[in-house]
Symmetry: C2
Subunit: 199 residues, 2 copies
Amino acid sequence: MQYFPAALQELADQFARLPGIGGKTAQRLAFYVLGLPMEDAQSFADAIIDAKNTVHTCPVCQNLTDRDICAVCDDDMRDKSVVCVVAEPKDVIALERSREFNGVYHVLHGVISPLNHITQDDIRIRELLARVANGDIREVIMATNPDTEGEATAMYISRLLRPMEVKVTRLAYGIPVGSQLEYADEVTLSRALEGRQEI
Amino acid sequence: MQYFPAALQELADQFARLPGIGGKTAQRLAFYVLGLPMEDAQSFADAIIDAKNTVHTCPVCQNLTDRDICAVCDDDMRDKSVVCVVAEPKDVIALERSREFNGVYHVLHGVISPLNHITQDDIRIRELLARVANGDIREVIMATNPDTEGEATAMYISRLLRPMEVKVTRLAYGIPVGSQLEYADEVTLSRALEGRQEI
């Protein structure tokens, strides 16, 4: 016997397909949507279609945008000769929040991860190489996450860039501002010592 | 400066409105939906609208259904003289899984909860009283959750039913099958002792 009306079950199944949403949570979300006023449910459905229809990647930096060219690449005040390479669009947001960087970005949409069957051809390395080959780029800052896969991806790309006469740098490692020395791990501390600077 | 394309931000905001979904999770879900093929995104959007359009409450038992009268109320093999009162549609599913109950249901859609401003008029008690007043109902089984609000709701309804010449019962308390005595809490154990039966 079928316990739920088919349309409710289908909605719960749709939620259950989302990452990190289990069966029980999916059911709860389906019940919640069912309890919404019709116009709210409609704007939820519309938001899904709108996002799919209007959001695409910037042809220059591969970041997500709803314009022909993204706001950063289109901004004449930004220094186009410095490119910061990040793994995901959300990393751009984190860097923009720091208000420190005035160059442009390149979004890889992932990192090389053999365990997850993501190879160098699955992320946007080719587009980065084409940018460096074509343009007047002075410096490429590797800003992937400081974990194994982020490091490996940064090393792989920097090796490809070496023959291209461009300066390749990496974000500094060290103790985070506002943290306490006693809670810093050994690797971070030794990197902070290595990278010490005169004051 | 706006960091996300507006349509992506709107989709993330829609997800963030769902219960138990925080800002970061909502962003992750929005990115995931953006990565889906268009037909999958379309069927997600359709599922929301379909559920809203086709699912409503059964006019007899108030359970959710996509038919005129729900499958249980419409089944001639079920004993219409025994009504099991539950708080939520998912409780019907739990009871149906036990394959033990051959009567019909009444879904309250909530319990009385002064802390959450849910009064007796916000849940479907009126409909239950009308059913008992109209029909040939012998027994009403209160099957709300064995917590404070579930208990209070069961007591409130049973007091309303008392003048109506109908037998009102409550699900048995006791130790759950398959559990171990040493892990049972005191209240459950004392209820299990009170309710002991001859073997």
